[in-house]
Subunit: 206 residues, 2 copies
Protein backbone atom coordinates (compact mmCIF):
# COMPACT_ATOMS: atom_id res chain seq x y z
CA UNK A 1 0.00 0.00 0.00
CA UNK A 2 1.40 3.40 -0.93
CA UNK A 3 0.45 6.34 1.25
CA UNK A 4 0.29 9.95 0.15
CA UNK A 5 1.22 11.15 3.64
CA UNK A 6 3.88 10.05 6.12
CA UNK A 7 1.63 10.99 9.06
CA UNK A 8 -1.12 8.78 7.69
CA UNK A 9 1.30 5.94 7.05
CA UNK A 10 2.60 6.11 10.64
CA UNK A 11 -0.88 6.12 12.14
CA UNK A 12 -1.96 3.16 9.99
CA UNK A 13 1.22 1.26 10.83
CA UNK A 14 0.79 1.73 14.58
CA UNK A 15 -2.88 0.79 14.40
CA UNK A 16 -2.08 -2.36 12.40
CA UNK A 17 0.22 -3.56 15.20
CA UNK A 18 -2.86 -4.37 17.27
CA UNK A 19 -3.89 -8.05 17.20
CA UNK A 20 -6.43 -8.95 14.52
CA UNK A 21 -6.12 -5.57 12.77
CA UNK A 22 -4.58 -5.67 9.32
CA UNK A 23 -3.43 -2.76 7.17
CA UNK A 24 -6.79 -2.32 5.45
CA UNK A 25 -8.78 -2.30 8.68
CA UNK A 26 -6.22 0.05 10.22
CA UNK A 27 -6.66 2.46 7.31
CA UNK A 28 -10.44 2.29 7.65
CA UNK A 29 -10.22 3.07 11.38
CA UNK A 30 -7.77 5.93 10.91
CA UNK A 31 -9.85 7.51 8.11
CA UNK A 32 -12.90 7.18 10.36
CA UNK A 33 -11.09 9.16 13.06
CA UNK A 34 -10.21 11.83 10.50
CA UNK A 35 -13.89 12.28 9.63
CA UNK A 36 -14.86 12.62 13.30
CA UNK A 37 -14.34 15.82 15.34
CA UNK A 38 -10.74 16.24 16.55
CA UNK A 39 -11.86 15.73 20.11
CA UNK A 40 -12.71 12.06 19.42
CA UNK A 41 -9.10 11.26 18.52
CA UNK A 42 -7.82 13.24 21.47
CA UNK A 43 -10.08 11.32 23.87
CA UNK A 44 -8.93 7.99 22.46
CA UNK A 45 -5.26 8.84 22.44
CA UNK A 46 -5.40 10.33 25.96
CA UNK A 47 -7.37 7.41 27.38
CA UNK A 48 -4.81 4.95 26.01
CA UNK A 49 -1.71 6.77 27.20
CA UNK A 50 -3.23 7.57 30.60
CA UNK A 51 -4.17 3.95 31.14
CA UNK A 52 -0.72 2.78 30.11
CA UNK A 53 1.09 5.32 32.29
CA UNK A 54 -1.05 5.14 35.41
CA UNK A 55 -2.24 1.53 35.32
CA UNK A 56 -2.11 -0.14 38.71
CA UNK A 57 -2.49 -3.78 39.61
CA UNK A 58 -4.01 -4.92 42.90
CA UNK A 59 -1.12 -5.79 45.21
CA UNK A 60 -2.87 -8.94 46.34
CA UNK A 61 -4.66 -10.50 43.33
CA UNK A 62 -3.01 -8.59 40.40
CA UNK A 63 -6.36 -7.54 38.95
CA UNK A 64 -6.31 -4.10 37.29
CA UNK A 65 -7.36 -1.55 39.87
CA UNK A 66 -7.20 2.19 40.45
CA UNK A 67 -6.51 1.61 44.14
CA UNK A 68 -3.71 -0.25 45.94
CA UNK A 69 -6.08 -3.11 46.82
CA UNK A 70 -8.84 -3.85 44.27
CA UNK A 71 -12.54 -3.59 45.09
CA UNK A 72 -12.91 -7.36 45.34
CA UNK A 73 -9.93 -7.89 47.66
CA UNK A 74 -10.95 -4.99 49.89
CA UNK A 75 -14.60 -6.11 50.14
CA UNK A 76 -15.02 -7.56 53.64
CA UNK A 77 -18.19 -9.43 52.58
CA UNK A 78 -16.23 -11.73 50.28
CA UNK A 79 -14.94 -15.08 51.45
CA UNK A 80 -11.17 -14.68 51.77
CA UNK A 81 -10.61 -18.40 52.38
CA UNK A 82 -11.50 -19.13 48.73
CA UNK A 83 -9.20 -18.06 45.87
CA UNK A 84 -9.96 -18.64 42.21
CA UNK A 85 -6.83 -18.79 40.01
CA UNK A 86 -7.41 -17.30 36.54
CA UNK A 87 -5.37 -16.40 33.50
CA UNK A 88 -6.29 -12.77 33.00
CA UNK A 89 -8.68 -10.08 34.10
CA UNK A 90 -11.21 -10.97 31.43
CA UNK A 91 -11.77 -14.23 33.32
CA UNK A 92 -12.38 -12.28 36.52
CA UNK A 93 -14.99 -10.21 34.69
CA UNK A 94 -16.62 -13.33 33.23
CA UNK A 95 -16.88 -15.05 36.63
CA UNK A 96 -18.07 -11.86 38.34
CA UNK A 97 -20.84 -11.59 35.73
CA UNK A 98 -22.26 -14.97 36.86
CA UNK A 99 -22.86 -13.58 40.42
CA UNK A 100 -22.24 -17.15 41.62
CA UNK A 101 -18.86 -16.67 43.23
CA UNK A 102 -18.16 -14.88 46.49
CA UNK A 103 -14.45 -15.62 46.99
CA UNK A 104 -11.31 -13.77 45.89
CA UNK A 105 -9.20 -14.14 42.74
CA UNK A 106 -5.59 -14.49 41.74
CA UNK A 107 -4.71 -13.29 38.23
CA UNK A 108 -1.67 -15.16 36.84
CA UNK A 109 -1.26 -12.92 33.81
CA UNK A 110 -1.01 -15.83 31.35
CA UNK A 111 -0.11 -19.50 31.41
CA UNK A 112 3.14 -21.42 31.12
CA UNK A 113 3.91 -21.77 27.40
CA UNK A 114 7.40 -22.78 26.30
CA UNK A 115 6.34 -22.18 22.68
CA UNK A 116 5.70 -18.50 23.38
CA UNK A 117 8.61 -18.20 25.79
CA UNK A 118 6.41 -17.80 28.88
CA UNK A 119 7.90 -19.51 31.93
CA UNK A 120 6.67 -19.73 35.55
CA UNK A 121 8.82 -16.71 36.47
CA UNK A 122 6.78 -14.55 34.04
CA UNK A 123 3.54 -15.28 35.89
CA UNK A 124 2.26 -14.19 39.30
CA UNK A 125 2.93 -17.62 40.85
CA UNK A 126 5.38 -16.66 43.63
CA UNK A 127 2.84 -14.21 45.07
CA UNK A 128 0.13 -16.90 44.89
CA UNK A 129 2.24 -19.35 46.92
CA UNK A 130 2.99 -16.54 49.36
CA UNK A 131 -0.74 -15.85 49.77
CA UNK A 132 -1.33 -19.54 50.53
CA UNK A 133 1.59 -19.65 53.00
CA UNK A 134 0.14 -16.69 54.89
CA UNK A 135 -2.57 -19.14 55.93
CA UNK A 136 -5.95 -17.50 55.28
CA UNK A 137 -6.65 -19.46 52.07
CA UNK A 138 -8.41 -22.82 52.50
CA UNK A 139 -9.15 -23.65 48.88
CA UNK A 140 -7.66 -22.77 45.49
CA UNK A 141 -9.97 -23.16 42.50
CA UNK A 142 -8.07 -23.56 39.21
CA UNK A 143 -10.07 -21.89 36.43
CA UNK A 144 -7.50 -21.88 33.60
CA UNK A 145 -8.45 -22.93 30.10
CA UNK A 146 -8.28 -26.70 29.56
CA UNK A 147 -5.42 -26.67 27.07
CA UNK A 148 -1.97 -28.22 27.31
CA UNK A 149 -0.64 -24.89 28.64
CA UNK A 150 -3.46 -24.53 31.14
CA UNK A 151 -2.94 -28.07 32.45
CA UNK A 152 0.83 -27.55 32.71
CA UNK A 153 0.30 -24.35 34.69
CA UNK A 154 -2.20 -26.02 37.01
CA UNK A 155 0.20 -28.89 37.61
CA UNK A 156 3.19 -26.59 38.19
CA UNK A 157 1.28 -24.64 40.85
CA UNK A 158 -0.03 -27.87 42.37
CA UNK A 159 3.54 -29.11 42.84
CA UNK A 160 4.58 -25.83 44.44
CA UNK A 161 1.79 -26.23 46.99
CA UNK A 162 3.06 -29.59 48.31
CA UNK A 163 3.05 -29.72 52.08
CA UNK A 164 0.84 -26.65 52.43
CA UNK A 165 -2.57 -26.96 54.10
CA UNK A 166 -4.79 -25.99 51.16
CA UNK A 167 -7.44 -27.84 49.17
CA UNK A 168 -7.30 -27.54 45.38
CA UNK A 169 -10.13 -27.95 42.89
CA UNK A 170 -10.80 -27.18 39.24
CA UNK A 171 -13.98 -25.82 37.72
CA UNK A 172 -16.35 -28.50 36.36
CA UNK A 173 -16.00 -29.42 32.68
CA UNK A 174 -18.91 -30.95 30.81
CA UNK A 175 -21.70 -30.40 28.33
CA UNK A 176 -22.92 -26.80 28.37
CA UNK A 177 -26.38 -26.27 29.80
CA UNK A 178 -28.87 -26.25 26.92
CA UNK A 179 -26.52 -28.07 24.51
CA UNK A 180 -27.61 -31.12 22.50
CA UNK A 181 -25.52 -34.24 23.20
CA UNK A 182 -25.17 -35.15 19.52
CA UNK A 183 -23.30 -31.91 18.77
CA UNK A 184 -20.93 -32.08 21.75
CA UNK A 185 -17.29 -32.94 21.01
CA UNK A 186 -16.22 -36.46 21.95
CA UNK A 187 -13.63 -35.53 24.58
CA UNK A 188 -16.03 -33.34 26.52
CA UNK A 189 -18.86 -35.88 26.28
CA UNK A 190 -16.54 -38.74 27.34
CA UNK A 191 -15.27 -36.76 30.32
CA UNK A 192 -18.77 -35.71 31.30
CA UNK A 193 -19.75 -39.40 31.61
CA UNK A 194 -16.61 -40.34 33.56
CA UNK A 195 -17.03 -37.37 35.90
CA UNK A 196 -20.79 -37.79 36.38
CA UNK A 197 -22.28 -36.27 39.54
CA UNK A 198 -24.94 -37.72 41.87
CA UNK A 199 -28.40 -36.73 40.60
CA UNK A 200 -29.34 -35.27 43.99
CA UNK A 201 -26.47 -32.76 43.88
CA UNK A 202 -27.34 -31.71 40.31
CA UNK A 203 -30.89 -30.93 41.48
CA UNK A 204 -29.60 -28.79 44.32
CA UNK A 205 -27.38 -26.76 41.99
CA UNK A 206 -30.15 -25.78 39.61
CA UNK B 1 -19.46 -5.40 31.57
CA UNK B 2 -18.18 -4.24 34.96
CA UNK B 3 -14.67 -2.85 35.08
CA UNK B 4 -12.40 -2.88 38.10
CA UNK B 5 -10.72 0.34 36.97
CA UNK B 6 -12.05 3.65 35.67
CA UNK B 7 -8.95 4.14 33.48
CA UNK B 8 -9.52 0.76 31.87
CA UNK B 9 -13.20 1.48 31.36
CA UNK B 10 -12.42 4.81 29.66
CA UNK B 11 -9.85 3.27 27.32
CA UNK B 12 -12.20 0.43 26.37
CA UNK B 13 -15.06 2.87 25.82
CA UNK B 14 -13.02 5.13 23.51
CA UNK B 15 -11.68 2.14 21.59
CA UNK B 16 -15.17 0.71 21.14
CA UNK B 17 -16.27 3.94 19.43
CA UNK B 18 -14.29 2.89 16.35
CA UNK B 19 -16.41 1.28 13.61
CA UNK B 20 -16.64 -2.51 13.78
CA UNK B 21 -15.05 -2.67 17.23
CA UNK B 22 -17.35 -3.84 20.01
CA UNK B 23 -16.74 -3.76 23.75
CA UNK B 24 -15.17 -7.22 23.87
CA UNK B 25 -12.75 -6.56 21.03
CA UNK B 26 -11.91 -3.17 22.54
CA UNK B 27 -11.07 -4.86 25.84
CA UNK B 28 -8.89 -7.42 24.05
CA UNK B 29 -6.99 -4.65 22.22
CA UNK B 30 -6.51 -2.56 25.35
CA UNK B 31 -5.28 -5.55 27.39
CA UNK B 32 -2.89 -6.36 24.55
CA UNK B 33 -1.44 -2.84 24.79
CA UNK B 34 -1.02 -3.30 28.54
CA UNK B 35 1.05 -6.43 27.99
CA UNK B 36 3.29 -4.67 25.45
CA UNK B 37 6.10 -2.26 26.40
CA UNK B 38 4.83 1.24 27.30
CA UNK B 39 6.49 2.65 24.19
CA UNK B 40 4.04 0.77 21.94
CA UNK B 41 1.04 2.63 23.39
CA UNK B 42 2.89 5.92 23.27
CA UNK B 43 3.73 5.44 19.58
CA UNK B 44 0.11 4.62 18.75
CA UNK B 45 -1.37 7.45 20.75
CA UNK B 46 1.15 9.98 19.39
CA UNK B 47 0.71 8.84 15.78
CA UNK B 48 -3.06 9.26 16.05
CA UNK B 49 -3.04 12.67 17.66
CA UNK B 50 -0.28 13.99 15.41
CA UNK B 51 -2.15 12.88 12.31
CA UNK B 52 -5.36 14.44 13.58
CA UNK B 53 -3.71 17.73 14.52
CA UNK B 54 -1.43 18.18 11.53
CA UNK B 55 -3.40 16.46 8.79
CA UNK B 56 -3.38 18.41 5.55
CA UNK B 57 -5.44 17.91 2.44
CA UNK B 58 -4.13 18.71 -1.02
CA UNK B 59 -5.50 22.12 -1.98
CA UNK B 60 -6.34 20.87 -5.46
CA UNK B 61 -7.63 17.29 -5.19
CA UNK B 62 -8.32 16.98 -1.40
CA UNK B 63 -6.20 13.85 -1.08
CA UNK B 64 -4.39 13.56 2.27
CA UNK B 65 -0.94 15.05 1.83
CA UNK B 66 1.89 16.37 3.98
CA UNK B 67 2.51 19.17 1.48
CA UNK B 68 0.27 21.97 0.17
CA UNK B 69 -0.10 20.19 -3.18
CA UNK B 70 -0.06 16.35 -3.09
CA UNK B 71 2.56 14.28 -4.89
CA UNK B 72 0.14 13.34 -7.65
CA UNK B 73 -1.04 16.90 -8.35
CA UNK B 74 2.52 18.26 -8.31
CA UNK B 75 3.88 15.53 -10.61
CA UNK B 76 4.42 17.18 -13.99
CA UNK B 77 4.45 13.80 -15.77
CA UNK B 78 0.80 13.20 -15.02
CA UNK B 79 -1.94 14.15 -17.45
CA UNK B 80 -3.67 17.18 -15.95
CA UNK B 81 -6.45 17.14 -18.54
CA UNK B 82 -7.89 13.97 -17.00
CA UNK B 83 -9.52 13.99 -13.56
CA UNK B 84 -10.93 10.91 -11.83
CA UNK B 85 -13.67 11.70 -9.29
CA UNK B 86 -13.60 9.33 -6.30
CA UNK B 87 -15.30 9.03 -2.94
CA UNK B 88 -12.34 8.84 -0.58
CA UNK B 89 -8.58 8.44 -0.48
CA UNK B 90 -8.80 4.64 -0.30
CA UNK B 91 -10.13 4.77 -3.86
CA UNK B 92 -7.13 6.86 -4.93
CA UNK B 93 -4.84 4.21 -3.41
CA UNK B 94 -6.74 1.40 -5.13
CA UNK B 95 -6.52 3.05 -8.56
CA UNK B 96 -2.86 4.01 -8.06
CA UNK B 97 -2.10 0.35 -7.27
CA UNK B 98 -3.28 -0.66 -10.75
CA UNK B 99 -0.55 1.52 -12.38
CA UNK B 100 -3.03 1.97 -15.26
CA UNK B 101 -4.01 5.58 -14.68
CA UNK B 102 -1.88 8.62 -15.34
CA UNK B 103 -4.33 11.46 -14.73
CA UNK B 104 -5.21 13.41 -11.58
CA UNK B 105 -7.90 12.81 -8.95
CA UNK B 106 -10.61 14.68 -7.12
CA UNK B 107 -11.61 13.30 -3.72
CA UNK B 108 -15.22 14.18 -2.87
CA UNK B 109 -15.01 12.97 0.72
CA UNK B 110 -18.22 10.92 0.54
CA UNK B 111 -21.37 10.77 -1.54
CA UNK B 112 -24.72 12.48 -1.35
CA UNK B 113 -26.83 10.53 1.12
CA UNK B 114 -29.99 12.11 2.55
CA UNK B 115 -30.34 9.09 4.88
CA UNK B 116 -27.05 9.92 6.58
CA UNK B 117 -27.58 13.66 6.34
CA UNK B 118 -24.85 14.20 3.72
CA UNK B 119 -25.75 16.88 1.20
CA UNK B 120 -23.80 18.32 -1.77
CA UNK B 121 -22.49 21.14 0.45
CA UNK B 122 -20.70 18.57 2.66
CA UNK B 123 -18.66 17.28 -0.30
CA UNK B 124 -15.83 18.84 -2.31
CA UNK B 125 -18.09 19.56 -5.28
CA UNK B 126 -17.72 23.35 -5.51
CA UNK B 127 -13.95 23.03 -5.85
CA UNK B 128 -14.41 20.37 -8.55
CA UNK B 129 -16.62 22.66 -10.63
CA UNK B 130 -14.06 25.45 -10.08
CA UNK B 131 -11.27 23.17 -11.36
CA UNK B 132 -13.32 22.42 -14.49
CA UNK B 133 -14.12 26.12 -15.02
CA UNK B 134 -10.41 26.95 -14.90
CA UNK B 135 -10.23 25.10 -18.21
CA UNK B 136 -7.35 22.62 -18.05
CA UNK B 137 -9.61 19.60 -17.51
CA UNK B 138 -10.87 17.84 -20.67
CA UNK B 139 -12.43 14.75 -19.15
CA UNK B 140 -13.98 13.82 -15.80
CA UNK B 141 -14.09 10.10 -14.99
CA UNK B 142 -16.73 9.23 -12.38
CA UNK B 143 -15.46 6.33 -10.26
CA UNK B 144 -18.00 6.33 -7.41
CA UNK B 145 -19.56 3.13 -6.19
CA UNK B 146 -22.59 2.07 -8.23
CA UNK B 147 -25.17 2.48 -5.49
CA UNK B 148 -28.17 4.78 -5.31
CA UNK B 149 -26.03 7.36 -3.48
CA UNK B 150 -23.17 7.06 -5.97
CA UNK B 151 -25.54 7.49 -8.94
CA UNK B 152 -27.20 10.49 -7.29
CA UNK B 153 -23.84 12.14 -6.71
CA UNK B 154 -22.70 11.47 -10.29
CA UNK B 155 -25.92 12.97 -11.61
CA UNK B 156 -25.74 16.01 -9.32
CA UNK B 157 -22.22 16.80 -10.52
CA UNK B 158 -23.24 16.13 -14.14
CA UNK B 159 -26.01 18.74 -13.83
CA UNK B 160 -23.59 21.28 -12.34
CA UNK B 161 -21.31 20.84 -15.36
CA UNK B 162 -23.96 21.88 -17.88
CA UNK B 163 -22.59 24.31 -20.44
CA UNK B 164 -18.95 23.64 -19.54
CA UNK B 165 -16.58 22.21 -22.15
CA UNK B 166 -15.76 18.90 -20.47
CA UNK B 167 -16.35 15.26 -21.39
CA UNK B 168 -17.68 12.94 -18.68
CA UNK B 169 -17.32 9.17 -18.45
CA UNK B 170 -17.78 6.46 -15.83
CA UNK B 171 -15.56 3.47 -15.20
CA UNK B 172 -16.68 0.29 -16.99
CA UNK B 173 -18.94 -2.06 -15.07
CA UNK B 174 -19.10 -5.73 -15.99
CA UNK B 175 -18.06 -9.23 -15.09
CA UNK B 176 -14.73 -9.32 -13.24
CA UNK B 177 -11.83 -10.76 -15.18
CA UNK B 178 -11.51 -14.45 -14.27
CA UNK B 179 -15.10 -14.74 -12.96
CA UNK B 180 -17.46 -17.50 -14.05
CA UNK B 181 -20.63 -16.20 -15.75
CA UNK B 182 -22.93 -18.54 -13.83
CA UNK B 183 -21.94 -17.00 -10.49
CA UNK B 184 -22.26 -13.37 -11.61
CA UNK B 185 -25.22 -11.39 -10.30
CA UNK B 186 -28.03 -10.77 -12.78
CA UNK B 187 -27.82 -6.99 -12.89
CA UNK B 188 -24.10 -6.98 -13.66
CA UNK B 189 -24.43 -9.74 -16.26
CA UNK B 190 -27.40 -8.01 -17.91
CA UNK B 191 -25.54 -4.68 -18.09
CA UNK B 192 -22.40 -6.34 -19.40
CA UNK B 193 -24.39 -7.65 -22.37
CA UNK B 194 -26.12 -4.33 -23.04
CA UNK B 195 -22.80 -2.45 -22.79
CA UNK B 196 -20.78 -4.94 -24.82
CA UNK B 197 -17.60 -3.60 -26.46
CA UNK B 198 -16.21 -4.33 -29.96
CA UNK B 199 -14.03 -7.45 -29.84
CA UNK B 200 -11.11 -5.61 -31.43
CA UNK B 201 -10.97 -3.04 -28.62
CA UNK B 202 -11.10 -5.80 -25.95
CA UNK B 203 -8.04 -7.43 -27.55
CA UNK B 204 -6.14 -4.14 -27.50
CA UNK B 205 -6.87 -3.59 -23.78
CA UNK B 206 -5.52 -6.97 -22.64
Amino acid sequence: MEFSSKLLEDAVYEMSQLPGIGKRTALRLVLHLLKQPEQRTELLSNALSQLRNSVNFCSSCHNISDTELCEICSNSKRDETLVCVVEDIRDVMAIENTSQYNGLYHVLGGKISPMEGVGPQDLNIVSLIKRVKEGTVNELIFALSSTMEGDTTNFYIYRQLEGLAVTTSTIARGISIGDELEYADEVTLGRSILNRVPFESSIKAS
